[in-house]
Symmetry: C2
């Protein structure tokens, strides 16, 4: 593959509390602000508490999910008295860190999330971006715990989450951690990934070439809801013990998926897929018990900074 160059990546934003009850990012951002960590060699760092009102309330959001507010359509819709808090806040964040799709946007936006699913450390990003993919490859090569990636096949104008505001960007989704709880093991993984990202950016800016290679990622194909009572709409089954905590392990036709509260086992039908976001707390209301995806291999070109 042909070598690719990018302009220097000098301006990075590290965001936490986009969901106010996902505590790794909340405490990571607070700690960085306390330590006045606003520079790492060639990289200037902006730390952001994305949804301070939701953080104060220790809730995912106040009016609506902030991390679904960053589409071009929502960012340009008229503001009225009844506009939800999070849509207003998305506008502020886009002004400060973007505007999305513009030259003024930060070079890299890193948004810190937690999940109750056993997903370890997982990068989530839109489309194919060599910078993000090389950072993923670097983190994966350095960490001793599993590092996975999910690629969302959504155009940038329809990309709904905060990291889409940066020129490059990804969400770090780390779990399992209950909402409202901070676990040291999860915090340490997030800190290590943030430190490795800063290290990579400095190496990149200093002229290092990152060699071509391959990475694997998961691409969502569909979602599966919990079995529900047709009248009350209440769920009638939990994730089966054999699927629980087994994110990214191939789910074959016939494998158990749910265990009803009266004790029956339900099984996967159709094609084999990889499950993830298995039993994520916030997705009950979105009617998602788990995602199913396929695994792809991406070939990366070598990259380096563009010389003047």
């Amino acid at each position: 593959m042909e070598h690719v160059t990018f302009p220097p990546l000098n301006r990075v934003a590290i965001c936490g509390g986009t969901h106010g009850n996902e505590m790794s990012g909340v405490y990571m951002v607070r700690e960085m602000q306390k330590q006045k960590e606003d520079q790492a060699g060639s990289v200037s760092i902006t730390t952001i508490m994305s949804n301070p009102r939701a953080v104060d309330a220790c809730r995912r959001y106040i009016d609506t999910d902030l991390n679904r507010c960053f589409t071009d359509a929502l960012l340009s819709a008229p503001i009225t008295d009844s506009t939800p808090y999070e849509l207003r806040r998305a506008r502020e964040l886009n002004d400060q860190l973007g505007p999305k799709g513009s030259e003024g946007a930060v070079d890299l936006l890193l948004d810190l999330h937690n999940t109750t699913a056993n997903m370890g450390l997982c990068l989530i990003f839109y489309s194919i971006d060599w910078v993000t993919l090389h950072i993923y490859k670097y983190i994966q090569s350095k960490m001793t715990t599993p590092v996975e990636a999910i690629q969302l096949d959504i155009s940038i104008s329809k990309a709904y989450s905060l990291e889409s505001v940066g020129k490059h960007g990804f969400a770090l989704e780390v779990g399992p951690q209950p909402n409202g709880v901070v676990r040291a093991d999860i915090f340490n993984m997030v800190k290590e990934a943030v430190d490795l990202t800063k290290e990579w950016l400095q190496l990149f800016n200093s002229g290092e070439t990152f060699e071509e290679g391959e990475v694997e990622a998961y691409v969502p194909v569909k979602t599966v809801d919990y079995p529900r009572d047709p009248v009350t709409n209440e769920i009638t089954a939990s994730i089966h013990p054999q699927l629980q905590d087994n994110d990214f392990k191939l789910l074959q036709p016939g494998d158990p998926t749910f265990q009803s509260f009266s004790g029956e086992t339900m099984r996967h039908e159709g094609e084999a897929f990889y499950p993830f976001f298995v039993n994520e707390c916030a997705y009950y209301e979105k009617k998602i018990a788990f995602n199913l995806g396929k695994k792809i291999t991406l070939a990366l070109p070598s990259i380096s900074v563009k010389k003047d």
Copy 2:
């Protein structure tokens, strides 16, 4: 020890959703209501969704913690327009299942809870009650997973939680499970304990003698808060990885307790104690990072039903 007899235990209440985001009890009660499980041999069963408004909102409580509302003082305080929802609801529950301390109260009240702490299945009860302790011994002898117990040394008039409304009663505290999430492994443990309790009651009512013996329980001695910033009051450390998930394992002087967000380790000082409720989500606001207790051994007399 001298043999002890008790009147038949015919009326049992099984309660869930006392905390609206602890899902094992919510789904257990819904399932029992759906299956119309209102009789088990000699035992009539009342199933109660204790805090339906909090369950609908998937929050611990609406105005105040329902499970702190059952002291004699609160149950007899005048109701005004500004009385919190949960204090009103406590009054309703006391009317339905009590009144606390009266002949009309249910014979046994079982209240189903979850914790984010790794406490397995844990019974919590007030003072020394041979019926509850024999049920504990029975459950422990039948289950393959660890079963522990915590004894709160609080007089019945000051006992603040729902199970104190029954003539006998205990809370089942089961974890680890995130708030707002239902896990099949945890649900299955709760179901097994509920079924064993029903089985024990039927054996007891049928005249079986439960032999004398011993059980161990933990008695709370003190609580430890998270290290906090003296100005902002925000926590500055998480539970140390060596303490996290190690509920009921003796904490010795010098053992790590916290890891600060800047990386320092804090250690336990003073006497050795047993930790529990380690990193329970709902206790952040109560300023409890973990409880410390001592282990006691209780000698039980043989018991059986009082013959007419």
